[in-house]
Amino acid sequence: MNEPAVLAGPERARPDAPAPPGRPPRRRPSRRRVPLRTRLRRDWQLLAMVAPGFLVLLIFSYLPIAGNVIAFQDYNPYLGDNPWQAFLHSDWIGFGQFQLLFEDPAFWDAFRNTLAITAFQLVFFFPLPILLAITLHNLLSSRLRGLIQTIVYLPHFFSWVLVVTFFVAMLGGAGLLAQSMREAGLQPWNVMTNPDTFIVLVTVEAVWKDVGWGTIVFLAALSTIDQNLYEAAAADGAGRWRRLWHITLPGLRPVIVLLLILRLGDALSVGFEQFLLQRDAVGRQAAEVLDTFVYHFSIATGNYGYGAAAGLFKAVIGLVLILAANRVAHMLGERGIYSKS
């Protein structure tokens, strides 16, 4: 590869980096002996560097997370000049919002839609990057491989507005497909507004956008598989499918498990912008998912406490799911997303 010379330093250094299984050797003198003041004098610059990021997360992540408490309020934005005052003056009503939420059929519709779409995409989207990565990896010409990679990664960087625009232009009522069907004298069908096939449409869109990008992590894992394994297997008479089954897939297993965990943890969020953009064209029945439900029933209508309750419910379930999935991964002997090392 024609990497710039700058890379030579860290590139060469990397092979010895993962060598020690625990922490890298750059550990500073043991923590407990050194008094706090000495450590402060030694590390204040590091702390100063962390400070801006600390503040950004404090204000825009932790403060909103703490702000979840308005789910237990009858939050009224008009009680005061700004959200802080409104928060202080609003009544606490306990689990009232949740009670309303669980009795709301629209909420359960959104819940069902979300789970259906997650399940559908787990079956019809999740395996595709793996297959594509294996196909790309087996291409012999590295130039062709690089060219294809460059092209298929590209849609990942398009916004959902663009992606939906492309699909409307190609498949919409005034799009290229309808246009050529009309020319051929056929009755054009508009997949962009059909609620029955919406689940297929959003999956195709997601595949179009991210199937290429999804291969990156699998390609990396593939490149770490020892080639001698393949040679030895071939010498022992294993054909290409047996090698795929017994060497390639086991080599990919940790990555597959990791991504499955992350996907399961995100089971209740399916491409928020994607759905928000298409909800009006397709209709609420098919296109309302939990995230869009939160948006439409809070910010769009001013019912903040209700939306916050729905959001909190979703976040708690999501956290439980990801911790459970990680636990299962540990039991299966995989590393999972985090381990206590």
């Binding site: 890298p24 560097m49 950004v56 997360l57 825009f60 909103p64 291409l139 012999l140 080639q227």
Partner: protein, 306 residues
Amino acid sequence: MTTLIRRPSGDRSRRPVWQEPPTPVGQGLKAVVLTVLVAGVLFPLWVILVTSLSSRETIARAGGLVVVPRGVDTSAYETIFAGGAVTRALWISTLVTVFGTAIALTVTVLAAYGLSRPGSLGHRWLLAYFLIPFLVYPPLVPRYLVVTGLGLKDTIWALVLPPAISVFNLVVVRGFFQGIPSELLDSARIDGASDFRTLARIVLPLSRAVIAVVGLFYAVSYWNVWFDALLFIDRNDMYPIQRVLQSYLLAGQAPHTSGASSGVTMPPTEAVKMAVVVLTVAPIVAVYPFIQRHFVKGVLIGAVKG
């Protein structure tokens, strides 16, 4: 027989002798799949580009979108750049992207370096603090109230500041920094260099690839900002480009072009629409190929470790 011994980073362009020759069916299938995939990405881009450069007659003859170009007509772009909503939105998006990327890169690189030394004061706590938002997203409604409560509504800061650190990018950069040999950093410290100096003089020059990749990620996410603009930007003269694209192409509103062009013959609306799409895609397509080759290396180091 030298091909039998294959080095990990060796030349992969020859088929190893132990591998059976490909079957015609397999080859054909592979070729079809990859061609469909590549065409699926490039074809819409092509159609949109060609339509944006087509004259009224060409578009009328094609019945909407144009696949085969007939001549070049730049009147759509001239209309857009004569001023109006699209030009302003492009300008605002450029501002958001430039400021946002600069701020986000600074915040991320500093934090990544500050968190790259196990054993420093508060290291474990700080690391946990920075990683938790990866699992627990800021909820929509309280986030909206916080940003509004800070008075950021209808300013570009509402778009720039909240995403100024992405935990994923932080992990990637930190992973890269930890791969830099400690001897280099130790020798700098022995020579009396402060941490800031070490970062600026030793670590950053070695990290151009990863910074390019993470910078691209940030730039793209700022350029693509749409929902935050829906939440926080009510004034339509402050709309970023994605918001304009959405209201114009998906919600079907006419673009507010400046009064100057209203008397002149209007170029075909289909071409103007597609020109807006082209202008939204163009910066990404222009920058991306230069940084793309660093992806696997830059992203991976962090991803595998993280």
